[in-house]
């Protein structure tokens, strides 16, 4: 029981830390991280230098739109 409570509290802490009050931001950040790997593997890094900040901006915009 004590272990279960600890695991539950630990999971809730991370959920609150990462998701907070915007699931869009958490999912968008996961997409940004995936995009960084995909674009870096697929092309030279010039593209990713622009794509990465744009993806971050799109994530922020999307989360605000849903507020």
């Amino acid at each position: 029981m004590i272990v279960w409570n600890f695991v539950r509290a630990f999971a809730l802490f991370w959920y609150d830390f990462i998701v907070g009050d915007s699931m869009t931001l958490a999912l968008g950040t996961a997409v940004v991280v995936g995009l960084a790997f995909v674009v870096t593997l697929a092309s030279d890094t010039g593209l990713v230098e622009v794509a990465l900040p744009l993806a971050v901006a799109a994530t922020l915009y999307a989360s605000l739109r849903r507020s």
Binding site: F17, G20, L25, T29, V33, V48, L52, V56, A57
Partner: protein, 255 residues
Amino acid sequence: MGSLVFQFLAAFLASSVEMVEALTIVLAVGVTRSWRPALTGVAAGLLTLGIVVVALGPSLVSYVPIDALRVTIGGLLLVFGLQWLRKAILRSSGLKALHDEAQIYEAEVAELLREPGLGGPFDWTGFTVAFKGVFLEGLEVAFIVLTFGTNEGRFDIPIAGATTGLVLVVGTGLLVHRPLSRVPENTIKFAVGLLLSAFGTFWVGEGAGVEWTLEDLMIPLLVVAYGALSYLLVRVLRPGERLVRPAVVEESAAR
């Protein structure tokens, strides 16, 4: 060098804003209950935060490959920074209520006066409230110190930034002996959100194998770009001169 200055600044500002919130709680405990449990709670909270940083920091640096660390830390920093930025934009545009430390203080005092346990050998209620206030508010700062320190392999700069913020806020709080309601909290949160988002983007890229053309100069460039975007978003979201009354109780819970 420039990167280290930004790291100091981010840790300093984050610590300042979080400690303003912790100070409000500690002052409420000290005034309504007694200063002994309040200060013991503060010491226990700071000690626990120190243990978290010391226990996790060096072991992360030693055992986790740097690229994996950068992606993980960068991703966490990014989501964390964007959360701060999002809240700051919503508050600046009037869509979310601003913090009001004076009202939070009044609410906290009223609640503490209702709690039992006064007059005993040790006021555990006061201790717990002060401890939780310092620990929970400080946990975000500890996270920032950990991420910056782990990535650079040195903890002195972020710890110095966080400690400076702590000393400044606590010192001012002791001098004025009331909540620091005139601190431009939303502006500071804006700045921290911009810095964390910029560092997060930069490290996610580095971890994924990106060699930034401008190297470390990319960080201030990202700060400026995200700052311009945030300004635009505030302007777009602001529906005329909207007036929002501070909603204190739910704000303190939602922090």
